[in-house]
């Protein structure tokens, strides 16, 4: 199961080699996420409409290894955008992936871009 965590590696915008077409903007809820499947990976994509921002992270919560984060609630702590895991309310920065209220492993994060009402996630 540790190996499952190891499948997810942060991709920075300049590393992107593939922009994967994930969904239409209209598929997304306001201020909420969806999970997409990409080559065996589960990626949580968030439409943070309150901030007019998009984020993507691994769907796997590192705390109890549950595929769940896309169903989490988004919000902010100070200026930091975050997502709260539905299981035990562990919160993670959507920008850095860091656990804000504990010592869990960082989430891998992925770049997101929106073009022509379509949402793309960047992979390396």
């Amino acid at each position: 199961m540790t190996s499952e965590l190891l499948n997810y590696k942060t991709v920075s915008p300049d590393e992107v080699t593939t922009w994967h077409e994930a969904c239409k903007v209209t598929d997304f809820p306001q201020d909420g996420g969806l999970c997409i499947s990409y080559q065996g990976l589960q990626i949580a994509v968030f439409n943070f409409s309150q901030r007019k921002e998009w984020y993507a992270t691994q769907n796997l919560c590192p705390h109890k290894h549950q595929m769940i984060l896309s169903r989490g609630m988004v919000g902010s702590e100070g200026e930091e955008p975050k997502v709260a895991c539905p299981f035990h309310k562990k919160t993670f920065s959507l920008k850095s992936g860091e656990n804000l209220n504990g010592n869990e492993c960082k989430l891998a994060t992925y770049p997101v871009k929106v073009e022509n009402e379509t949402v793309y996630v960047g992979f390396a």
Partner: protein, 835 residues
């Protein structure tokens, strides 16, 4: 290094150790304690709680580890039998010998057993130690009736205990009144009628001449020729100091027993001190804990401090709750001071009696008695002890000011002693709050120790805390989170008055930032409680369970609970549930709320499962929401030979009335068809128990981590009235509670408690009754089955998918077989086969 031995490990003996160790560690004074009982010191004041908890640990003054941590050598089950004053040694019944520099006698007392013929019969008990209580509990199981000899404080406590053990209970008192040392005739009469209304019979003026029975007692004979049939007798006729060591040691005793002590608490041997109930000062033995603690403090001062503190007698004022009745007596309660004149007030409707005794010049308060309502105790005691000036009309002290300015509020001096058990003054409390910047009442208690003894001063400590914070310009306000500077109750009003329908609207008008996982569900709950619109219109502000209308479980699968009102279900519906469970491979379990939970449903399957359930006639059970869960019922008069009313029918009516209504936390109800209470209604947020003429309505009970019995809100009411009160009660809770506070927690925080709640709900003291009923009616009218909405709306239905870009289930979700069904794979065992 001095060596101190304490004989006796009771409350006062323990307190001595605690106070000594606060001033001197083991390098200065070595400390050995001998206790005759096998247990370390426990709280005898709250002994009757043992009947409900049966936990010795809960009563301990401190756990055994405390003694180790503070380097106090505790030797239990050791009776000290000899003191050798010349060699300064003691010896125990097992022959152990130990030397001392100072000896502290804290041997306490034993119950006084009057020399009545037959007192040695089986079935006669005393009431002092945990062992006594265990014997009483064991014997009570074999009998139906029990009597208590002695109508003092302890006797009445014992009577309550017998009543709780389901015995037919009598109290026998020699004097013409109850609590003869604390109450006058009128006070005793009031207390008697209140206690008798609870089912305990009181016999006054009874001189017991004989305890009858062949081997074990079966009755009592009185000197006036009357008799009483009973199966057991608990003797509570006062105490006798344990001064057995005095005679052979050559220590002097007081006229009524007890080691005779001076103002330093020294016996006639200056190296031997006596404290607590073992000590006799001025021929007076103090049977209360506060003077005992004061004595302990005085001896500690003699041994390690300045030695200036002395003990010169103590106030016997006391306030307590006896069998649910408030009783207080303070200062010169009976008006024995020459020239004193009383002012008395009596209200037989409410069972209240108040009396204050004024000095002959009517300028000072000497003492008084309170029965039924002792709220004024703290203030009256302060006025008495500090010799404070009285208001122009002294009767205002017990009646409250009537008309005109009600500004007779007393400002206590800083020297006023608030907690007499721990000797804490108002100044101590105020200083602690200011200097240590305390913001929590519990911190105040642990920091100052105020209110940690008998607890009688707790309300005053709370008032001082709030007043001090106010004076410092602080307010105690529980705002929801960093994004809203409002309490839940304030947001409730804003949403309602400003007609706000969405989280985004509220955030932009009254909040800041982007919200979070605390305020979103709290506001979602408020919006639902006020408008009762379909919650999936704003699905991303709901907690996961609400968002998918199911309960998330380990592994990310969900469980499904259809509503089964009152627990009544037809065979066809049972078959339908079974068929669905089989088809979707669900684990099934009967819940505590009399319904069936189906576990292990995949997110994508939820709408399909619900379509089948709805077709079979089911509705959402709201097990996923902070909302009404179930109204549990017993089978009631339709089948049960004891049932008085149709409890199932009434439970179904109530469950259907309040289903779908969202509240600050989940709500559970119960309806029992008779007082056997098979529906456990007293453990619910609201519960109804059938009586001969109607129902008793109980509210704010709770099971779970902090169980709490529900309290009686109204008795013998008809179904229509019960529903009216329930409407008001539930709406009042929904309006005023903090987020995620169950009704029990809410009630505990509610100023004025159940009496205030009763005023609001039953007496409509706030004039809110009609409005609350109207609000409830609107919620009921807006009811909809959330699942029915979800499956008839394609957009909503589309949200029940694990992946947005495929229709697959979550491939990492796994189940393993268990007892012919399935369970989720353990936390973290997410398989890696997808790679």
């Amino acid at each position: 290094m001095k060596k101190v031995i304490v004989i006796g490990n009771g409350m006062v003996g323990y307190k001595f150790c605690e106070k000594l160790r606060a001033k001197a560690d083991a390098s200065q004074i070595s400390l050995i304690v001998y206790g005759e009982e096998p247990l370390p010191a426990y709280d005898r004041v709250h002994l009757s709680e043992y009947f409900t908890n049966q936990s010795e640990e809960d009563l301990y003054m401190a756990p055994r580890s405390w003694y180790d941590e503070h380097q106090v050598t505790l030797k239990t089950s050791q009776l000290v039998t000899t003191i050798n004053r010349d060699q300064k040694t003691i010896q125990t019944h097992t022959g152990d010998t130990e030397s001392y520099d100072y000896l502290i006698l804290a041997t306490g007392s034993r119950p006084m057993v009057p020399p009545i013929q037959g007192v040695d019969k089986k079935g006669v008990f005393v009431y002092r130690t945990i062992e006594d209580l265990e014997q009483i509990i064991a014997y009570a199981k074999t009998v139906k009736r029990g009597a208590v000899l002695g109508g003092g404080l302890l006797g009445l406590e014992a009577a309550k205990a017998l009543m709780d053990l389901s015995l037919d209970t009598q109290v026998i008192e020699f004097a013409p009144r109850l609590m003869p040392r604390q109450l006058d005739q009128a006070g005793s009469d009031m207390l008697k009628s209140k206690i008798e209304s609870l089912g305990i019979q009181i016999l006054l003026n009874k001189n017991t001449s004989q305890i009858r029975g062949n081997g074990k007692l079966d009755g009592l004979d009185f000197a006036d020729g009357t008799t009483l049939e009973t199966d057991m007798l608990v003797i509570s006729c006062g105490i006798i100091s344990r001064d057995e060591l005095a005679e052979k040691t050559g220590l002097e005793t007081g006229k009524r027993g007890g080691f005779k002590v001076n103002e330093q608490l020294q016996t006639n041997d200056p190296n031997i001190f006596a404290i607590g109930e073992a000590a006799s000062y001025n021929d007076m033995v103090y049977g209360l804990v506060a003077p005992g603690y004061d004595m302990a403090d005085t001896v500690v001062e003699q041994l390690i401090g300045t030695g200036n503190k002395t003990f010169t007698g103590a106030d016997m004022s006391t306030k307590l709750k006896l069998i649910g009745v408030d009783v207080a007596s303070f200062g010169d309660a009976l008006g024995d001071t020459p020239g004193s004149t009383p002012i008395a007030f009596e209200d037989k409707n409410t069972g209240t009696y108040k009396r204050i005794n004024l000095s002959s010049d009517r300028k000072k308060l000497l003492g008084g008695i309170l029965v039924g309502d002792s709220e004024a105790y703290g203030m009256l005691l302060q006025i008495t002890q500090n010799g404070m000036a009285l208001p122009p009309n002294p009767e205002d002290l017990i009646l409250g000011a009537r008309g005109g300015d009600s500004g007779t509020e007393m400002q206590l001096p800083d020297t006023a002693q608030i907690c007499s058990c721990e000797n804490v003054t108002k100044g101590d409390i105020v200083c602690a709050i200011k200097d240590k910047e305390l913001t929590d009442l519990n911190e105040v208690r642990s920091c100052t120790k105020a209110g940690t003894g008998c607890g009688a001063c707790s309300p005053m400590v709370a008032d001082i805390f709030t007043d001090t914070l106010k004076a410092m310009g602080q307010t105690v306000r529980k705002t929801i989170c960093a994004h809203f500077d409002y309490t839940r109750q304030e947001l409730y009003s804003l949403i309602k008055v400003k007609n706000i329908k969405s989280y985004a609207e509220l955030l932009s008008a009254y909040g800041s930032g982007d919200g979070c996982e605390t305020c979103k569900p709290a506001v979602a709950s408020l919006l639902a409680s006020i408008w009762n619109e379909p919650i999936l219109k704003q699905d991303t502000i709901q907690d996961t369970n609400d968002r998918f209308l199911a309960n998330i479980q380990k592994g990310g699968s969900y469980s499904v609970v259809p509503r089964v009102p009152g627990g009544e279900i037809t065979p066809d519906k049972l078959i339908a549930i079974g068929a669905v469970a089989k088809k979707y491979d669900l684990y099934t379990k009967i819940t505590g709320g009399q319904r069936i939970d189906l576990f292990g449903a995949r997110l994508n399957d939820l709408p399909k499962i619900w379509r089948e359930l709805i077709d079979a006639g089911f509705e959402s059970g709201h097990a996923y929401g902070k909302a009404l869960r179930t109204v549990k019922s017993c089978v009631g008069s339709t089948w049960c030979r004891y049932g008085l009313h149709d409890s199932v029918g009434f439970a179904i009516e109530i469950e259907n009335r309040y289903k779908g209504i969202r509240s600050p936390h989940k709500l559970k109800g119960g309806v029992s068809g008779c007082r056997r209470e098979c529906a456990e209604a007293q453990g619910k947020d609201f519960g109804l128990i059938a009586t001969e003429v109607g129902y008793n309505l109980y509210v704010c009970g709770n099971g779970g981590a902090n169980p709490q019995h529900a309290q009686l809100l109204a008795g013998d009411i008809d179904e229509k009235t019960a529903i009216k009160y329930l409407d008001r009660f539930l709406m009042f809770y929904i309006r005023t509670a903090e987020p995620l506070n169950r009704t029990s927690v809410w009630l505990n925080k509610l100023e004025g408690g159940i009496d205030y709640l009763r005023d609001v709900v039953v007496n409509d003291s706030l004039g809110l009754g009609e409005e609350l009923e109207k609000d409830m009616q609107a919620l009921i009218a807006a009811y909809h089955c959330e699942w029915k909405e979800a499956i008839s709306n394609p957009t909503m239905q589309a949200k029940f998918k694990h992946f947005a870009n495929t229709d697959d289930h979550d491939p990492t979700q796994h189940f393993v077989p268990m007892r012919e069904m399935k369970k989720p794979a353990e936390w973290g065992l997410v398989a890696n086969e997808t790679k």
